[in-house]
Subunit: 227 residues, 2 copies
């Protein structure tokens, strides 16, 4: 049993990869070099895939900066020091239009090539409620699309399952679950705006991560520039 | 009114772009550099976008060769001299897994950025019946996905329309319609296996194109190595 797993280098996708392994899948880790500012993620993804025993790890270049529209790929400032409560109000500047649609589409292509029918991704509807492509409706619509977009689906009636095991979990739940599954969070990278491999501690991603560890009563092994 | 139009450099997408213009859209032409062997397509796409008055033309790199699985991106031979009747039996080696899913996903992202709600592509269910992602069911499933994958869809209930004006047309119909719309087919590139910018005349794509011109009673302005 094979699964293609989206691995960004962040903590959520590391836990999702660990879930796929725990479910008995041979994992095919897929990472995107999409013109993101935070390229340290790519190194983190390779470390995570290796540490969690992925059968293969591929990095696919998808130049989303060519279409612009996000602080992560475009010349828009990364928001800092925002209260966590305000993050879910409206769409943050770090939203990359159609990112998960693009990533799942490539994952679906690789799944066809290697013969996997299961796709794992670490999206989370609690902390990222502002992102439309992190919602259950989106994942269900993609499952339906996968059936008609593939040879396996159209010729042999096979189904693809999109697994988002962290969808309903809080960041603290994710930290705890990752610990149970043996994820080394020190290998992961989360910050949207790191300086020399040190996390800023102030962007939305750092703040959510730090609060997750705090609420789980655990210490984040990463180094931060700001408390 | 804006439309994002997939423009490959081939004749079908050139006619689809011309249809978008004829329908009154300001067109945003989108081309993919996806590791295809036939890179002459990219030059053709730029010529076509310019000749048909696209407001913008972007080339997005998406390295589908990293996931392999196709004669167009991988070390698999391009089939030659196949009878046209046999092309629709089974999936040809030139099928790129999930290619249209990936392309439409990026197009959807760009549509969000520029404020377009209409996407045009030149897929055709008649000649390419072997490709799952050239079927009406696929396009409908993608429309449903677009509604839940975007901010415009989830926050404001807006709909995206996927237009495939050539879906039910024969190659001869496409040639005739392109002529009506003023498409210069001499700017387009079709061959899967060209040598020094000259089409082979023997791959599936060349054979379908040549038969289309023949059935339309028109002369293809391109040069071919084989009759």
């Amino acid at each position: 049993m094979k699964a293609v797993c989206l691995v960004s280098g962040g903590m959520d996708s590391a836990v999702a990869l660990a879930e796929a392994r725990a479910a008995g899948f041979r994992t095919f880790a897929l990472t995107f070099d999409y013109g993101q500012r935070h390229r340290l993620e790519l190194d983190a993804a390779a470390r995570v895939a290796s540490a969690l025993g992925a059968a293969e790890h591929r990095v696919v270049k998808v130049d989303l900066s060519a279409i612009g529209g996000s602080a992560l790929t475009d010349a828009i400032d990364v928001p800092k020091d925002r209260p966590i409560e305000s993050m879910s109000a409206g769409i943050p500047a770090t939203y990359v239009p159609a990112r998960n649609t693009v990533f799942l589409a490539v994952a679906l292509g690789w799944a066809e090539v290697v013969g996997a029918r299961d796709l794992y991704l670490g999206v989370n509807a609690v902390d990222y409620s502002g992102y439309p492509d992190c919602r259950p409706e989106f994942l269900e619509a993609f499952e339906r699309l996968a059936r008609v977009a593939t040879v396996a689906g159209t010729e042999r009636g096979e189904r693809f399952a999109i697994h988002a095991p962290l969808l309903e979990m809080s960041k603290a739940d994710i930290v705890r679950r990752g610990m149970e599954l043996g994820v080394d969070f020190g290998l992961t990278h989360t910050c949207y705006d790191p300086r020399e491999a040190i996390a800023c501690g102030r962007c939305d991603a750092c703040r959510l991560r730090l609060r997750g560890f705090e609420e789980a009563g655990l210490r984040d092994p990463l180094r931060y520039a700001a408390p």
